[in-house]
Subunit: 333 residues, 6 copies
Amino acid sequence: MTEQTSLPGAAARIPIAELESGQAVAGAYACSEKTTATDRNGKAYLRLKLRDASGEVAAIHFDPSDEALGISTGDVVVVGGTYSVHPQYGAQVQVRRLRPAEPDEYDAGDLVPVSPVGTAELAERLHALIDSVDEPHLRTLLERAFDGSREPGATLAVAPAAVRNHHAYRHGLLEHSLIVAETAAGVASRFDSVDRDIVVAGGLLHDIGKTQAYTSGGMAPQMTDVGRLHGEIVMGHDMVRDLIDEVPDFPAEVALRLRHVIVAHHGMREKGSPVVPQTREAVIVHYCDDMTARIAAIDDAQKSTPAGENWSGRIFMIDAPAYFGPRDDSADE
Amino acid sequence: MTEQTSLPGAAARIPIAELESGQAVAGAYACSEKTTATDRNGKAYLRLKLRDASGEVAAIHFDPSDEALGISTGDVVVVGGTYSVHPQYGAQVQVRRLRPAEPDEYDAGDLVPVSPVGTAELAERLHALIDSVDEPHLRTLLERAFDGSREPGATLAVAPAAVRNHHAYRHGLLEHSLIVAETAAGVASRFDSVDRDIVVAGGLLHDIGKTQAYTSGGMAPQMTDVGRLHGEIVMGHDMVRDLIDEVPDFPAEVALRLRHVIVAHHGMREKGSPVVPQTREAVIVHYCDDMTARIAAIDDAQKSTPAGENWSGRIFMIDAPAYFGPRDDSADE
Amino acid sequence: MTEQTSLPGAAARIPIAELESGQAVAGAYACSEKTTATDRNGKAYLRLKLRDASGEVAAIHFDPSDEALGISTGDVVVVGGTYSVHPQYGAQVQVRRLRPAEPDEYDAGDLVPVSPVGTAELAERLHALIDSVDEPHLRTLLERAFDGSREPGATLAVAPAAVRNHHAYRHGLLEHSLIVAETAAGVASRFDSVDRDIVVAGGLLHDIGKTQAYTSGGMAPQMTDVGRLHGEIVMGHDMVRDLIDEVPDFPAEVALRLRHVIVAHHGMREKGSPVVPQTREAVIVHYCDDMTARIAAIDDAQKSTPAGENWSGRIFMIDAPAYFGPRDDSADE
Amino acid sequence: MTEQTSLPGAAARIPIAELESGQAVAGAYACSEKTTATDRNGKAYLRLKLRDASGEVAAIHFDPSDEALGISTGDVVVVGGTYSVHPQYGAQVQVRRLRPAEPDEYDAGDLVPVSPVGTAELAERLHALIDSVDEPHLRTLLERAFDGSREPGATLAVAPAAVRNHHAYRHGLLEHSLIVAETAAGVASRFDSVDRDIVVAGGLLHDIGKTQAYTSGGMAPQMTDVGRLHGEIVMGHDMVRDLIDEVPDFPAEVALRLRHVIVAHHGMREKGSPVVPQTREAVIVHYCDDMTARIAAIDDAQKSTPAGENWSGRIFMIDAPAYFGPRDDSADE
Amino acid sequence: MTEQTSLPGAAARIPIAELESGQAVAGAYACSEKTTATDRNGKAYLRLKLRDASGEVAAIHFDPSDEALGISTGDVVVVGGTYSVHPQYGAQVQVRRLRPAEPDEYDAGDLVPVSPVGTAELAERLHALIDSVDEPHLRTLLERAFDGSREPGATLAVAPAAVRNHHAYRHGLLEHSLIVAETAAGVASRFDSVDRDIVVAGGLLHDIGKTQAYTSGGMAPQMTDVGRLHGEIVMGHDMVRDLIDEVPDFPAEVALRLRHVIVAHHGMREKGSPVVPQTREAVIVHYCDDMTARIAAIDDAQKSTPAGENWSGRIFMIDAPAYFGPRDDSADE
Amino acid sequence: MTEQTSLPGAAARIPIAELESGQAVAGAYACSEKTTATDRNGKAYLRLKLRDASGEVAAIHFDPSDEALGISTGDVVVVGGTYSVHPQYGAQVQVRRLRPAEPDEYDAGDLVPVSPVGTAELAERLHALIDSVDEPHLRTLLERAFDGSREPGATLAVAPAAVRNHHAYRHGLLEHSLIVAETAAGVASRFDSVDRDIVVAGGLLHDIGKTQAYTSGGMAPQMTDVGRLHGEIVMGHDMVRDLIDEVPDFPAEVALRLRHVIVAHHGMREKGSPVVPQTREAVIVHYCDDMTARIAAIDDAQKSTPAGENWSGRIFMIDAPAYFGPRDDSADE
């Protein structure tokens, strides 16, 4: 068992997407699912899913150590084993050794998918938006909200937008919030009657509740207890109040309108918003959120649709498959 | 115009329910509806509804003074005029003089319907419930919430439970909260697995958001801006947090569960709860809220159903008329 | 009866919004509603609604001539009578003489509300959009579709977008189509994966079926028989095919995608689209249609909300009243 | 084959929950599912589920005798074989011999799960409730309905409340009916306007239709033909009429109200009640039925949730998982 | 008051549809609506609707006698007064004298609309259908059900099919049941797998519950207490059981299937059927019921649509107006 | 590889329903599903479903030739291999050789299920219906629509009515259209107000859009791109216009009504009809379509229900299982 301590570090690891049948597996991976089962002799073994930035693979681990038995979904683990592809049951890693990874044994950036947009570009677009806000209290509030040296900014900068569906990768929440705010600002600029500042702030903050409604420390985000029991919309309303309380003399009318955008952004009660959008600003943020999430979901689906196929599989968010057609496909290459 | 200042005070007023056709009207009434219209000569006149604890009546006021034109729905006004019943258009007060009432010209208790249960009994039942709570932080929180010398206790003590439907009278919110908490506590006591303290606290506080979602100063409660834009459920969640912050070392787990009861008490998203009840305590408070509100709505409907009728008119809350039958009627008398 | 022929022409007419109680009414108005009733002596009389660009008013006409009895909703009529405001029943024109107007007796622009945006600006924006389309067949198709010297362009240029709700005025359909196409093009430009040409063409043509689904000759648009029996979506699909057939070698793939945008633009079956949006372009046009229509409906509601009111009445399209707040109001003035 | 007749009796049987991998299985079990399949040689074999009071296990039986082939779901069978746990496919009994059990070979109490509440306590609570009914005809009706020496009382005493979801065990229907009636009586006692007798009788009888809508003789209840084709609500209405016909001079008004409680107890048409609750008594029984069934479903879910887990899996009846939290768990141990 | 007893009998009455403004009204009419109001002097007066086979008219009666005050909706009354048409408020009878009619003072056939199909033809078609049933028990059951010398046959022969919507006239239920049964029998004959006897019996009896769910004695059918509280579907199920009990050796399988047709004939839970159609026979009766009711509703609407109109008003049953078109209209004349 | 070319022709093939475990498989089958997978060595292999008129079976093909890898769902393939039944995984063909079939190697009639009604009978019933149409333009239109020597008649004659659910076999669309038209004509004949010609034409053509919405050349119909993106209802509307354009002087009113029947035949927006039926003819075709499809679905379900079973499995179209009962079963044999 001393052999286990000599497990190779993350340096030697092969990305999951590049594993070939028969190849040895060695290095740090995120454990995205863990089930403990019992074999015919009553001995516990583990069924796992391992994930890194390139993909996910099933794994099985017989004769686990107590240390291995104690890991949780979301932990990073150092694994030794073999990858193989069974014609009937698909790809699987036979794990021989497994233990929790030390913080210095992996680079989180290798283990979770990241936004295809670079962090520098994201930061630049974020600051351009914040700087475009005229109302000074609102601009201050946004600067604090996205201050990466503290919460919620630290989490806002790295969280995924969703566990699945769209932008389900590191920085995804920031990327999604930016595209919503940018699109909404574009719409706002066409209507004199719309308060562009509220639209930009609402677009950037609409999903802020997700930073507490989902776990962010581990590698596989899960809903938190409070996320399930209070709901991400109510938590966003709560968090924006904390931010408002930090800004001296924040105007009550702006607070009233901004928090309405948060509370109403799902558009209807059936989708979890206790009130419907009742201001132009809330209408715009709601529609731009829904619209851009659907486009992103179609973009994602196209990536996992084999070349030459005109249609994706069914996409949950549009309740249908998406059509790409021959032209789109050629445009991609 | 000096004549107007000699209007008789509230002492002389006749309750609306006792007015007879042709009788003079003089005294303070609550203005529960106000519309400004224009006559054929372009002169403004007022269509009003006047209310007191005994009922409501339509009114019309030609040649209003500027003071009269400036009143708002919810104000108490001193009125002089005549009551008559038109065979085609029903009962109406022809108002000749009207001005805002001074605070010492009326007794609020005369102007809004009050709970049929006396305030002493309400207070006694409230304290019995609070005293029955074992968890000390929760008991402290309830004592502060219902402290009548400050908010929200001052408003909780007098607000109606609803603008219409059920308990739509002074002290109605307290009466409703008590019957929900008492009924829920009764149910809780039959299940070992239920945390009775959370049930009692959740029952007493489930509608606390209404104290800010509705105006309470005036005589005719209206939804406030924040009530419409954020929703009473979200506001209740917000207010309970303030109360929790006041109690040192309030246990996080109790806070998590208590606020879940508030957020989930409408039972489903379509009815305005962003999350469904996911604890036994939230299930019980939700059902006891719905059940007792429906019984109260039927009780109310019976009061306005003429003797001898077996059926009420259609009741919004049960989506049907209620059946009383011959036996119920005799039981009532 | 010869007196009737000496009715003053349109020149002398007073806009409805400027009529004062007791004033004589003389000139051409659109008849937007007509009901024939019978008086106590069995004699027919007419209840009408008269409309011009400034507003609408109820009218009653006793002792109508046969010519008057024969008019239809949507006709322009020359009217003589008196305007008065009854305190109980509101404003009404007592019509003494009424006959169909000759085409040279009125200017349609006086009788129906027009877009607040000038026709020159509308034309300029339209051409800018069409010129921005790269795909040559699609650009040709749009040029023909909006050729004002023939159908459907002639009707597209002047039709209202809806009988009520939003853009319910002359040129309203064009104004609505432009704002949808412009907004959608703005969104499209943020996504590399979106075909901007299809988005612009789909945005401009999405409501083309309305030109045949509603009457356009008269002053008060009504659904046509085919509009009711086949539906505006199906008719739009049909009309776009006619336009495609006019353009030689129109690419089948572009035709497939463009007609999908038309068919799917209501977003779901329950709203009348037999298929849901399955391309990014259809998603964008659908959301920009819904979003801008809601903003326009709130803008319209604000116009008819008295100064000083924070809230509009309930708006059908957002299923709620809209909140303007103190700040918006000051911004308006 | 003679060996088969020497199968050990029920005495030797090991409860399913206590079987260990490799252990011999011998004795009587209920067959809760039976499918006949064909092997590669065209020979029939059986896939089964075997159940007793402690649990359920899959089984497979090759080379079945004709007698074995002829058994039905719900029969009790005497089985000989071996229990094993496959790491991939889970636990299974390899059956070598199987035949229908004789009535004296098993004790039904060993084969189906029973109410955790003892029959003596159930009987005592039932009689206390019946004795508390003042209206003599109603009390007589209840005595007859629950007379265990005849139908429907004999079945009412032993039937499960449901095939799954809650109280899905022997005596479950009685236990469920008692808790509904007791809870409802508790609520009724808080409202002067409620007829407690109807509430108690309605609570006890609301599910009486299930005694004919489900099979009760066998070990695995199934819906009967009439249960599927007429519905348990309509059958309950029918059965209560039979009981009413047995009681001389049963008051028509009481019959009208009691049967309404039965017909309306699902609360709305979508859930199978052709009319909604229109009396206070029907409102109370409906809500107490729904509320206590949900609490029971959460209690059941907690039993099958591993210690240390804060959440159950998704519970059908509450359309969500249930939260137990750290405190509940400690309370259980 | 003796003058009142000299009221002219039914012989002199003028049908409502033929009354002219200013004409005296004298004779027996059905009272289809009655409201008691109070005038400015506190004196009671009556607002009424009077109906006969030709139509309905509003009426007002000041200074009513005690006898007049005591009438109920559905009573036949002998009326003296004057008919007039007010330009603003429409047609109305000013009643001067009113008393309940004696049975020999009117012919029910004059007072309620009757089926346009003659009773002889209805009887002939009914017997042809019954005679076509092969299964002897079912044929006997139908003979008893429609035996006009007893219930439910006596009521089945004269009841309307509905208070409004379709076949809302005397004999309407029989006419509706016949067309459903005939149409359904026609469909059944095209499918070998369908039991035509069940279809015919189910078609004839599907609405039998209406004979007890609606009052039938008076002139204006109303839902009965039991109709509201148990529902017409459940009552039909109950009544068919009574009929089955009368036929010796009625086959259980036929009873099971026939009652299923009754219970399921509304097609889905949302429309009041606790179970959906699960046999071919129930499917056919459900669809033929819905289909022929819609055709009848369109036929009715065409009768009340002025000649020359292509469209009816909105028809509740088809959730739309119906289109007749120019051709249909010419076909009618 | 030369061996592959010597594959036996279709003559030697055994129908799928008659294959026995261990038997050799040789001949032409339709490929109704094809998935390419990769084995542990990275080599591609095929998972297939093979179908003929008698049934369907799973197949697996390792070491496929390039020719085999290139086949598509819907192709006919010549297969060599072995059929076996695994106790755990069911029946499967182990394919050793596979190539596309030449047109002369199979008879399409052997490979797809066909209507149980003979083509001669179908043709006779079709012509009887067409000949019964009085309106000459409509009769001409139907003759052209069903002209088997061109489109759409050629496809109409052979297409299935659906991929699954009902009439999912060759000629199924024609058989379904005939039964709808015949049933609808029978209903029409009972109502003087109904235009039987429109009903017959609408019944025959209601599903014409399916001939372009589904592929028809191959053996396994799939939705086409245009079928998914425009919808079969809109395509039917489009195709009927083409047919109308072929008939000189086709009356506009008849065209208006006929196309309404097509557009409205799904009955409501939620089911894909952008308008609801607004003419009697559209009501009748809609109901007869739904009703006969449900009966056909029950008939189909009975065929796959084992003898002796009283109930089918759940049927999608009726949202329930169907009851056949003991009597139906005996009637079948």
